[in-house]
């Protein structure tokens, strides 16, 4: 009998859910991908309203899925602002630390001599916690790089993260069945 710790179970459940949510469209005609393709989804944002004179901060929890046509190795993620500069938090580049990667079935992928590997036509998953500073809707770019067929390949994805302000671009009204958004009116 094998006893699996709660944390391990929770991690497996998370990766299964993530795999399902990020592959829900399988079986449909989907958009074509580049050799290395990244999908990301904002799962949650934890907001700290700030204290002792500090401003509002937030922690964006993001699911990442990476697909590769061919075997790829030395997978690296980078966090960028929309203008291409490294993402900063309190004037310092955000460090992701070691990431826990998994395959779609939830099995942990350990880094080898060539770092994290993606098998040909395979998918790997991870989760990021990204600190953000200031009450605003933040644009966040996650860039992925890997080596495939002896060449560096890269891709990226973009997500908007509301911190301390509502993401109220369209407010759904269940009564009317409408999602309302406002428009800019000329004076």
């Amino acid at each position: 009998m094998t006893t699996i710790g709660f944390g391990r179970v929770a991690r497996r459940v998370f990766y299964l859910i993530a795999a399902c949510s990020l592959t829900a469209s399988a079986g449909f005609a989907t958009e074509p991908k580049s050799d290395l393709a990244l999908e990301l989804r904002l799962v949650d944002t934890v907001v700290n309203q700030g204290a002792l004179g500090r401003g509002v901060t937030g922690m964006a929890k993001i699911e990442i899925a990476l697909d590769s046509l061919r075997d790829a190795h030395d997978v690296v993620l980078e966090l960028r602002a929309p203008d291409g500069r490294p993402l900063q938090f309190r004037s310092r580049p955000v460090s992701m630390g070691p990431l826990a990667w998994s395959d779609p079935r939830g099995a942990r992928i350990a880094p080898g001599s060539r770092g994290i590997l993606i098998p040909a036509r395979g998918r790997i998953l991870t989760r990021l916690d990204v600190p953000l500073e200031g009450a605003a809707i933040h644009g966040l770019v996650v860039k992925a790089k890997a080596v495939s067929a002896a060449e560096e390949v890269e891709t990226e994805a973009f997500v908007l993260v509301p911190v301390g302000v509502p993401m109220a671009v369209a407010v759904e009204d269940p009564e009317s069945g409408l999602a309302n958004f406002t428009v800019k009116e000329a004076n």
Binding site: A26, G27, A157, V169, V183
Partner: protein, 517 residues
């Protein structure tokens, strides 16, 4: 009696004469469009009209089911002018422009949230409205990252409907209502289409070619047929399922052909961006006119298939990066989009499995007879998609078997037979004869299979029927074939090469090698 007559007369008058409007609600809705090129977003914003969208004038103080005061729609310039029959003084009135087209009799398009809500762009409230006061809200603009994406998707769907009208004489009817699901608040990571429903990636609001690609899947689901098994696919994959390769190719080609027909810039380029709020962000830039990019051969590549179909209609007039040039591969065809459309809506719709073969054979089907074989062959041959006789045909029987001597090098062949010369292919068997001395060993094998080919080899006895040796797959996962065989007696023997049973295609090309040590 007189009272009754008068009442009836008044009632009839009320029915016969439309009520006179008390006031007019007017305005114009525009949206910001983020311009892009092959590198992604350029940083430029253009302003476009929201065309043919429903407009509803409402009293927002009332319950939802009692708010409506009048319906109208925007025109080709995004203007609306809605007559309102309402003699009530109201504390607030408002107009909202909806992402649906119920007020346009021949347009069936809507953009909804993932949960199915129609989007509504709301004007400000006009307060203390008297019953005869016209209200002009002026020019309003939906902004990027604030609803303009919805307007862009709606507008491309209207252009798409008009493209169908150009091809068929009518926009898609109510049974072909297209629904785009799009989220302004995230959560959808891949664009996909099923039936008449297009689900767009949440960052694809300005990825015009992605939107039109997915819309094209809906069009083909509605007017043609798809056998696409779906799932993840990559532009540089040269060995896709032929059903997927063709359907994705057709979606890319057809979506870009809407841009070409409208004379829009970068018509030849499929661009998928990350959706970044900054500039750039192109993830896939796929040039339909550059045969070197994502170069693949055979019809198991969506890129090769799409470039071939694109080139049928491409001309020097295409608004692409090389204006005035009919691009690679050079060809003599610059046919109207209707020629391809006839194939999609005709023979392809009847195919058992829809692949690149369905298109080629449909093109030459007697019901279409699009002809232009030499030019079509030039185009398809540039991608080594070979749907025509090889040099050894006809060699379908032992009587017509092609004599073969060992050591002659690679013989390039295709499984394609055309019994009546109409260029439409049929199932093909290739037969070769050879003479052997007693005890002589031979190796016969197929190599370099293309276009989802799956070979089966047999060595037949002198009677042409007895199978002496055979091989289907050389190894697990390798659909080529290989036979090593030694003749027990001197005589004439035959090699029979045919498509293995199963699969989704009947054609395909290959090389045959015949050796004797």
């Amino acid at each position: 009696m007189r009272t009754i007559r008068l009442t009836v007369a008044v009632a009839l008058l009320a029915v016969a004469v439309p009520a006179r409007a008390n006031w007019v609600a007017s305005g114009q809705l525009l949206y910001e469009h983020r311009e892009w090129d092959q590198f992604g977003f350029t940083g430029a914003i253009t302003i476009k009209p929201v065309r043919y969208a429903d407009v509803e004038v409402i009293d927002p103080t009332k319950p939802s089911n009692k708010q409506n005061l009048a319906w109208g729609k925007t025109d080709a310039n995004g203007n609306f002018s809605v007559s309102v029959v309402d003699s009530t003084t109201r504390s607030k009135v408002r107009a909202r422009i909806l992402s649906q087209s119920t007020q346009t009799s021949d347009l069936f398009v809507k953009v909804v949230t993932p949960s199915g809500s129609i989007y509504a762009a709301n004007t400000s409230d006009y307060n203390n409205h008297g019953p005869n006061v016209n209200v002009n809200w002026g020019t309003m603009t939906a902004i990027a990252f604030g609803g303009a994406e919805v307007c862009n998707i709606f507008d491309l769907a209207v252009y798409g409907a008009d493209h169908i009208k150009m091809l068929t004489g009518a926009r898609p009817n109510s049974s072909k209502l297209v629904t785009f699901k799009f989220s302004l608040t995230g959560g959808i990571t891949v664009a996909s289409t099923s039936g008449n429903t297009v689900t767009l990636r949440d960052t694809a609001g300005f990825d015009d070619t992605v939107i039109l690609h997915e819309w094209s899947h809906y069009v083909m689901n509605s007017y043609s047929k798809s056998s696409n098994p779906g799932g993840t696919h990559f532009l540089s994959d040269c060995n896709e399922d032929p059903r997927l390769a063709f359907d994705e190719a057709r979606a890319s080609f057809f979506g870009c052909s809407v841009r070409r027909a409208n004379g829009w810039p970068n018509a030849n380029t499929y661009v998928r961006t990350s959706g970044t709020s900054g500039t750039g962000g192109a993830l896939n830039t796929y040039n339909l006119e550059d045969a070197e990019q994502y170069a693949c051969t055979g019809d198991t590549s969506e890129v090769a298939n799409s470039r071939a179909m694109w080139d049928v209609g491409d001309s020097a007039a295409t608004n692409d990066a090389t204006p005035g040039v009919d691009d690679t591969p050079p060809d003599t065809l610059s046919l109207p989009d209707l020629e391809n459309w006839q194939v999609f809506a005709g023979p392809v719709k009847l195919a058992t499995y829809v692949t690149g073969e369905s298109f080629w054979n449909g093109w030459f089907d007697p019901t279409i007879a699009n002809g232009n074989f030499p030019a079509m062959k030039d185009i398809w041959n540039s991608f080594t998609i070979e749907f025509w006789h090889d040099a050894s045909e006809p060699n379908n029987t032992t009587a017509t078997a092609t004599p073969l001597a060992p050591g002659g090098g690679l013989l390039h062949l295709s499984y394609f037979y055309d019994s009546n010369g109409d260029n439409k292919g049929e199932v093909d068997t290739d037969l070769f004869s050879f003479t052997a001395a007693a005890g002589q060993a031979f190796t016969v094998e197929t190599l370099n299979l293309l276009s989802a080919n799956d070979t089966n080899l047999e060595i037949l006895a002198s009677n042409g029927t007895t199978v002496l040796a055979s091989n289907n797959d050389r190894a697990a996962g390798d659909k080529s074939s290989r036979i090593v065989w030694t003749a027990s007696s001197a005589g004439t023997y035959y090699i029979r090469s045919k498509r293995a049973s199963g699969g989704y295609t009947i054609h395909g090309s290959y090389d045959l090698q015949f050796t004797s040590p």
